[in-house]
C-alpha cells in the first residue's frame, strides 16, 4: 500500500465559539477518490474551508498532513503551493481582474516560477477545450457575472491547470444541470490519476454516478459515522440520512 498522501487526524474545527467538526479522521492514498456525504448542517463546508485554511475556521485540535507534513500552521497560499486545492461551493467574484491574468498568476505561484506565455496558452487552450469552454471565457473578470454552471466549470478549469496533489471538491455538483454535471465530472476524471487524490464533499449521490468513489463516508454533526464502498452511497440515496442520525448522538456522547 502506498504511503498516505493526505491525512486528516482527529480534526476539530470551531467557528467563533461553536465546535463544528468533532474529531474527524480520514486517510487518502494516491489514486483514491473519497466521497464525504452529509445532510445540511453536518459540517461539510466547515471541513472543506478549514482544510484550505480559511481564517474564520479555527482548528482547535488534531492535524492535517499533506505528504506527511503538517499544514495547519500554513496560510492558504502555502497550502495551495504545496499541492492542496479547494473547489469552492460559492466562488467569489473579483471584478476588474481577468480570468486569464488570474490563472497565469496562480499557475506561476503553484510552480514557483513564472510560466512562459506560450506554454500557458497551450495548456489553457487544451483544458478549455476539454471543458467545452469558449476561449473568450477567460477574458471575463473572475467569477463576475458567471452563471452557477460557469462558476463550477471555472473551478474545474483551475483544477486542470494547477494540477494539485489533493483536490477537495466542496459541493461541486450543486446547481448544475445534467449536461454541466457530466462535463464537470469528466473534468474531474481527466484530472484524476495515480499520483493524486480527490475528496468529494457532497449532499447528493448524483455526481458519484460520474465520478466513481473508492470510499464513501457519512458525515453527521462533524463526525464520520459510517464508512464503506460505493454501495454506501446507494444506500444513502435509497434510505436517506435518517438511519444514521441516531448514531451521531451516540458518537457525540461517546467522544
Amino acid at each position: 500500500m502506498p504511503p498516505p498522501l493526505f491525512e486528516i487526524d482527529t480534526l476539530q474545527v470551531a467557528v467563533e465559539d461553536k465546535q463544528i467538526v468533532n474529531g474527524l479522521s480520514l486517510t487518502l492514498r494516491p489514486g483514491e477518490v473519497h466521497a464525504i456525504m452529509g445532510p445540511n448542517g453536518s459540517g461539510k463546508s466547515t471541513l472543506a474551508n478549514s482544510l484550505m485554511g480559511h481564517p474564520r475556521y479555527r482548528i482547535t485540535g488534531g492535524d492535517i498532513l499533506l505528504q506527511g507534513e503538517s499544514v495547519v500552521d500554513m496560510p492558504p497560499d502555502e497550502r495551495a503551493r504545496a499541492g492542496l486545492f479547494l473547489a469552492f461551493q460559492y466562488p467569489t467574484d473579483i471584478p476588474g481582474v481577468s480570468m486569464i491574468n488570474f490563472l497565469r498568476r496562480a499557475m506561476s505561484a503553484r510552480r514557483g516560477e513564472e510560466i512562459p506565455v506560450r506554454e500557458f496558452r497551450q495548456v489553457l487552450n487544451e483544458v478549455l477545450g476539454r471543458l467545452q469552454m469558449d476561449e473568450q471565457f477567460v477574458r471575463r473578470y473572475v467569477n463576475d457575472g458567471f452563471s452557477g454552471g460557469e462558476k463550477k466549470r471555472a473551478e474545474i478549469l483551475q483544477l486542470g491547470l494547477l494540477q494539485p496533489l489533493v483536490a477537495v471538491m466542496d459541493e461541486t455538483d450543486s446547481g448544475l444541470d445534467i449536461d454541466a454535471l457530466r462535463i464537470v465530472s469528466e473534468g474531474i476524471n481527466t484530472f484524476h490519476s495515480d499520483e493524486n487524490a480527490i475528496l468529494l464533499i457532497t449532499h447528493y449521490q448524483r455526481i458519484l454516478r460520474y465520478v466513481q468513489p473508492d470510499h464513501v463516508h457519512v458525515l453527521i454533526d462533524g463526525q464520520i459515522v459510517e464508512s464503506g464502498d460505493a454501495s454506501l452511497a446507494e444506500r444513502l440515496e435509497r434510505d436517506g440520512y435518517e438511519p444514521f442520525m441516531e448514531r451521531t448522538k451516540e458518537g457525540v456522547l461517546s467522544s
Binding site: M52, P75, D77, P95, V97, R105, R110, Q158
Partner: protein, 471 residues
C-alpha cells in the same frame, strides 16, 4: 533678486522615486510673499499687455477679500507669506530639446519624457519647470493644420487677441480663492487651439515639475477646441521632497465648441509635501464631448473637482477619477457636472483607495437646471480601504431642479474582502499579491480608459504606493 536654492532636501522616501531635486541657482526668484508689487513685477518680467496686468491686480483683490475655504481639507497651515510666487530657472522656452539647459534636461530624462516623444507616442510635448515653460514642441503636420500648442505666456505674446477672447471666460477671477490667486500670479501652463474639423490623433503632453523649495506653481492652461475638432491632452506632475511644503494651484479652462471632442488626462504624482489646489472646468456646447480623466496619487492635500458645464443640447460630459491616498495624505477629489441645457448627458465614475492611514474622499456635485429636460446622468463612486486605520468618505450632492430627467447613482465603500483574499490565496497567491490584484481590479474601469503607456504607469505607481503600505 536671485537667491541660491541651498536648503537640503529631507532624505527621499523609498516610495517616492521623483524626490530628487536639482541644486542650481534660479535665474530669477522673487522674494517670498504676495503683494501688489510682486504681481506687478511678474507682469513686468513678462512684459504683458495692460489688460492682463489689470486682471491680475483685480484678482489679487478678490483673493485678499475671500476667506479661506473651511471645507474639504485643512488649509490653515498654508502660509502665503512663506512662498516664492515666481521662480524662473532659464530665460527661454525652447522648441529644440538640445537647447534646454542640461540639468533640466537630465530631470526630464529621469522622468522619461523626451523618450516618449522620440518614440512618436506624442503629438507634442511641453515641459514646465517651476514657474516657466522651458520646452514646447509640436509635430510639424499639426502645426501646418493650424494647431497651436505653446506656453500660455508665449501665446499671450504671439496671439494676444485669441488669449484675451477666452481667458477667464470659463473660470472667472473671483470663482474661488485659489482661482483668484492663480489669476493674480499665474505663470506658464499650456495653450492649445485646435481649428475647426482638425483631429489631433495622438496625445499632446505637458509635464509639470516643481524644483525649488517653498515654491508656488501657478500654471494656467487654456484649451480651445473649435467646431468638430478633436484633441487629447495629457499632463503629469512631480516635485522633489523638501522638509517644507509647496503649493500647486493651477487653473485649467477648456472650451469645447459644437461637435468637438476633448479629453484631458492628468497623472498627478506630487511628493507628500505639496498642497494641490486646482480648479479645472470645461464648457461644452452643442453635441460636444468633454472627458476628464484624473489620476491622483501623492500630494499632502489635494482638492480638485474637474467640472463640465453642459451649455447646449446634445453635449456630453464625463469624469473618470482615481485617487489613491497613502500615509499622511488627504485626497479630496471628485467631479462637478452642470446640466444647463436639455438632452445633455453625463457620466461620473470615481474610484478611491486609501491605505496606510491615508484619507480619500469623493466630493461631487450634479446639478440639473429647471428646463434642462431629457437629461441623463449616471454617477458611480466606489471607495476601497486596505486597512482599518485608513479612511474613506463620499459626499455626493445632487441638485435636480427638473423633473423629466434620468439620474442614476450608486456609491459603495468597502474593505478588501476576506472572501476575495481567501479565494486568491487558495490559488497560491501571497496576501500581498492577492491584495494588489484586488486593487488593480478595483481601479480597472478607469485604467482601461487611459492610453496604454499611462495605464502601465498608473498601475505601477499604485503598486509602488502599496509596496510601502502592505510590505
Amino acid at each position: 533678486m536671485t537667491t541660491p536654492a541651498t536648503n537640503p532636501p529631507v532624505s527621499p522616501s523609498a516610495d517616492y522615486e521623483y524626490g530628487f531635486h536639482d541644486d542650481v541657482e534660479a535665474l530669477v526668484k522673487l522674494p517670498k510673499g504676495l503683494s501688489r508689487e510682486v504681481v506687478n513685477t511678474i507682469s513686468d518680467i513678462k512684459d504683458e499687455p495692460s489688460w492682463m496686468r489689470k486682471l491680475r491686480l483685480k484678482a489679487l483683490d478678490h483673493f485678499n477679500a475671500r476667506p479661506m475655504p473651511e471645507w474639504g481639507g485643512d488649509l490653515s497651515d498654508i502660509d502665503f507669506d512663506d512662498i516664492h510666487y515666481y521662480v524662473r530657472a532659464t530665460d527661454r522656452d525652447e522648441s529644440s530639446w538640445e537647447d534646454v539647459p542640461d540639468y533640466i534636461k537630465d530631470t526630464y530624462d529621469k522622468l522619461g519624457i523626451p523618450e516618449a516623444e522620440k518614440q512618436g507616442l506624442l503629438a507634442g510635448v511641453g515641459a514646465q519647470y517651476d514657474s516657466e515653460v522651458v520646452y514646447h514642441n509640436i509635430r510639424e503636420d499639426l502645426e501646418e493644420k493650424g494647431v497651436l500648442f505653446l506656453g500660455t505666456d508665449q501665446a499671450l505674446r504671439e496671439y494676444p487677441d485669441l488669449v484675451q477672447e477666452y481667458f477667464t471666460t470659463v473660470i472667472p477671477p473671483n470663482d474661488n480663492k485659489f482661482a483668484a490667486l492663480n489669476t493674480a500670479v499665474w505663470s506658464g501652463g499650456s495653450f492649445i487651439y485646435v481649428p475647426p474639423g482638425v483631429t489631433v490623433d495622438i496625445p499632446l503632453q505637458a509635464y509639470f515639475r516643481i524644483n525649488s523649495e517653498d515654491m508656488g506653481q501657478f500654471e494656467r492652461t487654456l484649451i480651445i477646441a473649435d467646431e468638430g475638432a478633436q484633441v487629447h491632452y495629457v499632463e503629469g506632475c512631480t516635485a522633489p521632497i523638501y522638509s517644507s511644503d509647496s503649493l500647486h494651484s493651477a487653473v485649467v479652462e477648456i472650451v469645447c465648441k459644437p461637435g468637438s471632442n476633448v479629453r484631458y488626462t492628468t497623472i498627478q504624482n506630487w511628493s507628500n509635501n505639496v498642497y494641490n489646489l486646482v480648479t479645472k472646468r470645461a464648457t461644452a456646447y452643442q453635441d460636444a464631448v468633454m472627458t476628464w480623466v484624473d489620476g491622483n496619487l501623492g500630494s499632502k492635500l489635494t482638492m480638485k473637482y474637474p467640472a463640465v458645464y453642459l451649455m447646449e443640447p446634445g453635449a456630453h460630459g464625463e469624469v473618470l477619477s482615481i485617487a489613491s491616498a497613502g500615509q499622511g495624505q488627504q485626497l479630496d477629489a471628485g467631479a462637478k457636472i452642470v446640466h444647463a441645457a436639455p438632452n445633455t448627458t453625463s457620466v461620473i465614475t470615481s474610484k478611491s483607495l486609501s491605505m496606510d492611514g491615508g484619507r480619500s474622499s469623493y466630493r461631487g456635485l450634479l446639478k440639473v437646471y429647471d428646463g434642462a429636460d431629457g437629461c441623463r446622468s449616471n454617477v458611480r463612486c466606489d471607495a476601497l480601504m486596505l486597512d482599518e486605520h485608513s479612511r474613506s468618505d463620499t459626499y455626493p450632492v445632487m441638485e435636480i431642479d427638473e423633473k423629466r430627467v434620468d439620474i442614476g447613482h450608486e456609491a459603495t465603500v468597502s474593505k478588501v474582502g476576506d472572501e476575495q483574499l481567501f479565494y486568491l490565496m487558495a490559488r497560491g497567491l501571497s496576501e500581498a499579491e492577492a491584495t494588489k490584484m484586488i486593487v488593480n481590479g478595483f481601479v480597472e474601469p478607469i485604467i482601461k480608459s487611459l492610453p496604454l503607456e499611462y495605464a502601465v504607469e498608473m498601475n505601477r505607481l499604485i503598486e509602488l504606493q502599496m509596496d510601502g503600505a502592505i510590505g
